[in-house]
Point group: C2
Chain length 193, copies 2
DNA sequence: GGATGTGAAGTCGTTCACAGCT
DNA sequence: AGCTGTGAACGACTTCACATCC
């Protein structure tokens, strides 16, 4: 955003304000990965942007599969434009492809391929899938996770409200926004009594 | 889930395993709010469940408004069944109600009322709105937040990838799942180089 | 002069380990 | 005998404050 505004350099204090954190925090975090700033000046925005992309691994393409094409899964499939360009959804799985393919295809305006989860291992290899997104019902989450592990997909994004167990070497992160909502409710609740 | 299985008591060790944390953590966190367990036994599931609901403020009804009826906002409106029963969506706002109301009503199968954000203050009072959910484009987020503050809605759930500034006394929490996705990508990236 | 990079100090949260109850 | 509740030890992260360098 700063770049679009025509800005050239930015200070840790500005970045800190924008992120709602302390300026020393910004500097320490960046310094952990190298020296990106110039003393007395700040950080060159263009360079910093590129450096951060390199650090985070966002130059590489990440190929993803969505497993479980219910409301949430279908939404992700449909509205994938909020994903950065380096993330690609390259496969969709559902235990009942025939029941779901029509509904989703209609909404997308073009036919959508939906595969049975049993094919995960083959397809993962064929299409070089890096990350699996679990959007099944909670009751299926661990079973699906086991299949993901079997398919040797190392990254998992779990939208299900259960803790998934996977062997070491696999990365699991959870996304469950109703927890955040509960947190807002709790903090409001605190103040009223 | 344990209750449905017919279990009566649960130990901190079991809870810890299910949550992927340390047992001492579970005990300390609970002990912070009172004494809920029985030494030598564990925690009575029914009682613990009720106690936690009380602590978190989940017995009360929480009334919410969604502001910004794009893809995400409309999805939340449509598929609100994943919300716990004590959360109610009682209003929807968009800067272009006429452009959006048809599309959403069609999908929902019944007419949906969508209001202009200028009416936020009135409606917030009328309908006793506790929490506002921002699902506008990022560029609008701060403006919308200002309106929310003006309407004196104390809780904000921000789905936008910008840090919102509000006066003290307001609660803001952010939900932005692509950050979590970036985190998965980063951790995978770390291992490969 | 001014903003970074960074030891040192400070704060916060986690884990240990065991006394205290049931 | 067993599991909670909790002080104390530990570890991790955050902030301070200033030497360093452009």
């Amino acid at each position: 955003m700063l770049e679009e505004k025509g800005e050239v350099v930015v200070s840790s204090a500005q970045l800190a304000y924008a992120c709602g954190v302390n300026a020393a925090q910004v500097r320490k975090d960046l310094a952990y990965f190298g020296e990106f700033g110039i003393r007395g000046v700040g950080y060159y925005i263009k360079d910093l942007y590129d450096d951060i992309k390199n650090i985070l691994g966002l130059n590489r393409e990440w190929r993803m599969a969505i497993i479980g094409i219910g409301n949430l899964g279908a939404s992700l499939l449909l509205y994938k434009d909020f994903l950065k360009k380096n993330y690609k959804i390259v496969a969709a799985f559902d235990i009942d492809p025939s029941g779901v393919v029509g509904r989703v295809s209609e909404k997308m305006g073009k036919p959508v391929e939906i595969l049975h989860p049993d094919r995960l291992k083959d397809v993962a290899k064929e299409r070089k899938i890096d990350i699996a997104i679990i959007t099944t019902p909670a009751s299926e989450a661990q079973k699906v996770a086991d299949k993901i592990v079997e398919a040797n997909i190392k990254g998992i994004l779990n939208f299900t409200p259960v803790q998934i167990k996977v062997p070491k070497g696999f990365v699991v992160k959870n996304v469950y926004f109703t927890n955040v909502l509960d947190n807002v409710a709790y903090l409001l609740h605190l103040k009223r009594r």
